[in-house]
């Protein structure tokens, strides 16, 4: 959106920025879930590290919207599993597994879904308010 003038348009632009941010978050969740069992390819190396999206307030159409600022790695420890036959195992036979918990990702996904729906409702309500106002002109 290049130039938004009406207040309702600004509201919708802000909600749209939130929709985009939630979609970006969904992308990160997808990456985390897809790599939930991506172990290291080299012996004793680190596996996939869980990524965390970081949101920040951003100016959208002259108001404060939201955008994904950056993606940060989750610093929590990896789980070690005894698997001597695994190509990624260290000399003692332990393989580091990603610090991705599918349960947490599922909850994150639910949260992203709810936030997305909430912002869709914002757009819907803003539009409904605008069209109800316009209905005053119609008989």
């Amino acid at each position: 959106m290049a130039d938004v003038k009406s207040l309702s348009g600004v509201t919708q632009a802000i909600a749209a920025s939130a929709l985009k941010a939630q979609q970006a978050r969904m992308r990160i969740i997808a990456e985390n879930l897809a790599n939930a069992s991506s172990t290291s390819r080299t012996a004793g190396g680190d596996p996939y590290r869980r990524q965390i999206p970081v949101f920040q307030p951003t100016t959208v159409a002259g108001a404060t919207g939201v955008s994904m600022a950056r993606v940060e790695p989750d610093p929590t420890d990896f789980k070690s599993v005894y698997q001597p036959g695994n190509p990624g195992a260290d000399p003692k036979g332990y393989v580091k597994e990603p610090n991705v918990d599918p349960l947490i990702e599922a909850l994150d996904m639910k949260e992203a879904q709810r936030a997305y729906e909430a912002n869709l409702n914002v757009i819907e309500t803003a539009r409904a308010m605008e069209s109800r106002t316009l209905d005053l002109l119609r008989k």
Binding site: M1, V4, K20, L137
Partner: protein, 104 residues
């Protein structure tokens, strides 16, 4: 629709004639007439611009260059501005018709 438009035109002509006869009211009447047509013109320009943006967003989305959210908000903005212009236009034309129906 044509009758409504001609009514509006007739009203504008009458307004101009009345303004000329009134003498000192000329500038004001002309200013008012110009003011309204300017408002309608700028509203229409905005609506056209909004629908152009919507169209370019649609094209970009088809080419895989734009987010669906942007396309939807652009289309929604275009729809709203066009609806506003239409509602205002209908209202004004009905006002003109109301005046034309006035017994002289």
């Amino acid at each position: 629709m044509i009758s409504a438009l001609s009514a509006a035109k007739a009203y504008a002509t009458m307004q101009k004639a009345a303004g000329l006869e009134a003498g000192d009211g000329t500038a004001e009447t002309a200013g008012l007439g110009g003011g309204f047509s300017d408002v309608l013109k700028s509203a229409m320009t905005d609506a056209v611009k909004a629908s152009r943006t919507a169209e370019s967003q649609m094209t970009a989305h088809v080419q895989g260059k734009a987010e669906l959210v942007d396309v939807v908000t652009a289309i929604s903005a275009a729809e709203t501005s066009l609806e506003t212009v239409m509602a205002v236009r209908d209202q004004v034309i009905s006002a003109y018709q109301e005046i034309m129906r006035m017994p002289i």
